[in-house]
Symmetry: C2
Subunit: 324 residues, 2 copies
């Protein structure tokens, strides 16, 4: 299989290369693309130095799959070239996610939707993937009607630059932020992405609209509050879930324990619960603090954590290749 990666020098792009190796994807030819400032660099793949290229008219010729780890502008720009070359474009940006003829895929949840693709498959938002991985097993017990979510999102959600900014601020509290709107060291910023309808942010509405599409729940209600916190990797989400039918905690735990890609990590009394320091650099989503919700009759409250660079982006995209 011939594979190309757009944005190969970023955190997600590099994690895609790692995932190709770890998942034993048979790669005959790998092409790595990035912006001009990365020209001259090369990245090691299975002992071979692959030079960074910039995108040209015929860059995608003979490629089977193109993994997009760039901006939505880059995705928009490259899509027609990729389709013309006959490759499948699996894109991590938000650009194609809500387009009706583009499947939005978390393989453990809706792999059957992959079949409907017409050349482009979208990778969902990182917090959406992690949240839905955590609650998919609940949705199997009874359709989810409502989700109230508050996120704890790591700085690497904004790429290498986000990581660097936190590091610089920790060293020098007078450092002027330019990735985040305010200093993130020792702070929480309750706003990610732009303001959108009804004073929700775009990031918050992604959980609403993407969840409806992925889970085939067109009437799902979602209140989400997205907050950046000074963690390095792995987003966490505090969730309250109401399903059509009342659920009990034991059946929920059992169902979650059987969910592929998820680790039930739940025993408050022995201090066992998901945390970024435990879930970083792993492909699995950890779920814990599972208990009855006091507000929703028969509802469930829980806390989950997953590496948003891996399962929230790169690993999810690479997994889709296996289902193609």
């Amino acid at each position: 299989m011939n594979i190309a990666i757009l944005g190969a020098t970023g955190l997600v792009g590099k994690a895609m290369i790692d995932s190709l190796i770890e998942e034993n994807i048979k790669v005959d030819k790998l092409k790595l693309f990035a912006s001009e400032r990365s020209l001259g660099q090369a990245i090691n793949f299975k002992g071979k130095e692959i030079p960074i290229e910039i995108i040209k008219e015929d860059s995608f010729k003979n490629m089977d799959v193109v993994l997009g780890a760039g901006s939505k502008e880059l995705a928009k720009e490259c899509a027609s070239k990729i389709l013309e070359a006959g490759a499948v474009f699996i894109d991590n940006s938000s650009y194609f996610r809500m387009q009706e003829d583009v499947p939005l895929i978390v393989p453990e949840i809706n792999s059957e939707d992959i079949k409907k693709h017409r050349g482009i498959i979208a990778n969902p938002n990182c917090s959406t993937i992690i949240s839905l991985m955590a609650i998919n097993a609940i949705n199997k017990l009874s359709p989810i009607e409502s989700i109230i979510a508050s996120t704890y999102q790591a700085v690497s959600g904004a790429g290498k630059e986000g990581l660097n900014e936190l590091e610089e601020e920790i060293k020098n509290l007078d450092y002027k932020p330019n990735v985040f709107p305010y200093p993130i060291a020792y702070n929480c910023i309750p706003s990610i992405d732009e303001a959108s309808e009804d004073d929700y942010t775009k990031e918050e509405l992604k959980l609403l609209y993407e969840s409806r599409k992925i889970m085939h729940l067109p009437d799902l209600k979602v209140t989400c509050t997205c907050v950046r916190v000074p963690t390095l990797r792995s987003h966490c989400i505090s969730l309250s879930i109401k399903c059509k039918d009342p659920l009990n905690v034991e059946e929920v735990k059992e169902s979650i324990s059987k969910q592929k890609g998820v680790i039930l990590y739940d025993d408050l009394k022995v201090k066992k619960y998901p945390m970024p320091i435990i879930t970083a650099n792993q492909n699995k989503v950890f779920v814990g603090r599972i208990r009855k919700d006091n507000v929703f009759d028969g509802g469930i409250a829980l806390f989950c954590s997953g590496d948003q660079i891996r399962k929230g982006a790169a690993y999810n995209a690479v997994s889709i290749i296996k289902y193609l």
Copy 2:
């Protein structure tokens, strides 16, 4: 007025001394108590060095008010001595909060309850004070029926030792934590205080039981998830609120803007929202991200932040003196 402070060398104790000065409380005599290891120290109060004392049988003689900034064990131990001396005990620990004959007071919310005291007045939990300050104006519009809360709690909630632990961990990632159960640097810990009924933590249930008592809402439902994050001062809380009647965002903002002790700080488009770096070292609770809740019909979502050492503890306790 003769005032004594228990636990005077801690973060809350010291902030109580600052609050006495800032609030122009007329103090004739100030006595400062701490544990033996603080003996020999003195704290400056209005230009006078006040030596640290340890508690003896007659320590509270002639005191009018004793402010408790110590553990619940210390509160329990000292209460009878304080009552015998005829002083009023305003205690910040959790020990007396849920006792029926002890008023639990946030002066801006339920100052009329102070009258019922029989020598002891309890200061609520820090997250409870900050959350209720933020939503009291909503409760005035229509009685609150349900609250779903996720917290972002600063390390100073665990005192100086919590602050020191984060600082040490930032300097040396191999530092062994002993205040928090896991490293808090670059981490989120979704568990504060001990495990309790239904796998909620005690900290989470404080918001349930204390809110019912303070707001006189015996049937209030609360789902709370308490999470420690690597911030220094000021807790944040993400809240979804359902009232008896449907509310609209504009009337909620107007009501919050009139709430004493609260600052309406809300304009997402110009990046104006509450954050720890803005609210630290202030007595006011900041409220923003006010928007319609997508799950509760006619409900409200919001995000608030307040300094849990000040309004969440010391300043709230000192304010109670004014109402006595």
